[in-house]
Symmetry: C2
Subunit: 290 residues, 2 copies
């Protein structure tokens, strides 16, 4: 079996090598590349590759292309989220944010370009037609106005208004959860897993996505700028709805443990089903150290 | 045969009825709907329906959905183009621009939502799997960082620098032409026309798209705000590259006539091929009055 580090390297290499071919304006390309290659954990495409790998799928360039699309999409969401009109952030992954480097107009276009290119990459490869179409459908639902974009809009709309926990869960499920769930599920779709397996993968992805956003909330409170590579303590300043603001730091740690425990149960079911080597998911679950 | 006005009505009705189902945040939905339902000619989806209709395709709700996706995408491009970070326009279709009404943050998200939803609409309908996948591919290429977004980036990048005519043609082909060409071609793809017919449709679409942008340039000089529903004389103020700035008003009219004449030749070839009733395209060509 390949390790997570090896899978991540496939992602880094694919992105570095193939972005240029689909861009046709030098500044736009520089701006897209700047944010795409600024590093980062590559969590989403690595999850996709890991799940496909666990299911025995060969990870050729077609699979890599389909898997890396979600990183294009994730990067667009960070660029737009950082814009002066949105969170107005200056620092991302230890570097000036895209608009600080290229201006807000070009940053807007870089985001638009990455978002659109994501659909090109999932649709233009040699995977079976049904697989590619399914990925387009799932990705557009996860990222669109009933998914991630709705989560962003809720985030803005409810700034300064304290949400009940159920609503906060919904916000998190859309803002961050939907794309992480997609990333897990996409591995199953690419490997043409059964409906039952995809169901379990979706469940794991949803719990994992919730854990991820709770952890992100927590780190904004107890993490440091030096460790995170971006401003911290911003949520409270902007009166964002977060787990710590609603249930305190200890309550947040408890909620994180619960979400992780649910994800581990899903993983156990996946392992028990015998269709793939889902021990590989251990490393993703070990990420949440506090 | 249906008239262009009847086809446009199908588009207006479909958009009015079906946007809500795919949005899940009230302000976001209002913002997306505000720009989508602000009127407009519905030129792009009407072209798609007209070509499909000319080829004998039944225009049921699945076809309407696939065709209307390009209007979602076009509307996103207008919203982002109007943003303070881009053209900073206050007026669009006789109404305050989206960010003047909802703020730049929500306008950015409304654009992101419409762009993503376009891919949902072309992929989630009952057309054959191959047709849907082809539409995703063509739309992402036309709208992405080698198409429309590249054109926008060129437009910003070359402000204040006079381009040679060949470069200006390339800019126009990307900025406006690519999506209009897509709109024509999509009708052929939906009706599962032959490769030869699609080739001719693409050629017609490219010439038509060029004529459209030349006309737009011309109207910015000789049109009025009252007629256009948006600010005019902006191109010169912003030192944009346009036909009038490069070849003067008379030269622009001549270039427009040439592009239209080429489009008419393509139309004649389509008619002569006998595969559809392409007289229907007459009304689209009659649009360019000056």
């Amino acid at each position: 079996m390949m390790t997570i580090a090896e899978l991540k390297r496939l992602v880094d290499q694919y992105l570095a090598k193939h972005l240029a071919a689909d861009c046709d304006q030098a500044t736009l390309y520089s701006s897209m590349r700047y944010s795409l290659m600024a590093g980062g954990k590559r969590l989403r495409p690595t999850l996709t590759l890991a799940v496909a790998h666990a299911l025995g799928q060969e990870l050729d360039e077609n699979v890599q292309r389909a898997a890396c699309a979600v990183e294009l999409l994730h990067t667009y969401s960070l660029i737009h989220d950082d814009l002066p009109a949105m969170d107005n952030d200056d620092l991302r992954r230890f570097l000036p944010t895209n608009h600080r480097r290229f201006g807000a107009g070009m940053a807007t276009l870089a985001g638009d370009g990455l978002l659109t290119l994501a659909f090109q990459w999932v649709s233009e490869n040699d995977l079976p037609v049904e697989v590619r179409l399914k990925l387009v459908q799932l990705l557009s639902e996860a990222a669109g106005p009933a998914g991630m974009v709705a989560g962003q809009a809720m985030d803005i709309h409810y700034e300064g208004t304290q949400l009940p926990l159920a609503q906060l869960k919904k916000l998190h499920a859309k803002k961050t959860g939907a794309l992480l769930k997609y990333s897990v599920l996409a591995g199953g779709v690419i490997a043409q897993a059964s409906e039952q397996t995809c169901q379990l993968l979706g469940q794991f992805g949803a719990h994992y996505g919730l854990a991820f956003q709770i952890y992100d909330d927590l780190m904004d409170v107890i993490g440091s700028e030096a460790k995170m590579g971006k401003a911290v303590h911003k949520d409270a300043d902007e009166q964002k709805n977060t787990y710590p603001s609603l249930v305190g730091v200890e309550g947040t740690k408890k909620a994180l443990d619960q979400a992780l425990s649910a994800a581990r149960d899903d993983q156990q079911q996946l392992i028990a089903s015998g269709v793939g080597d889902f021990k590989l998911l251990d490393d993703f679950l070990a990420y949440f150290q506090y």
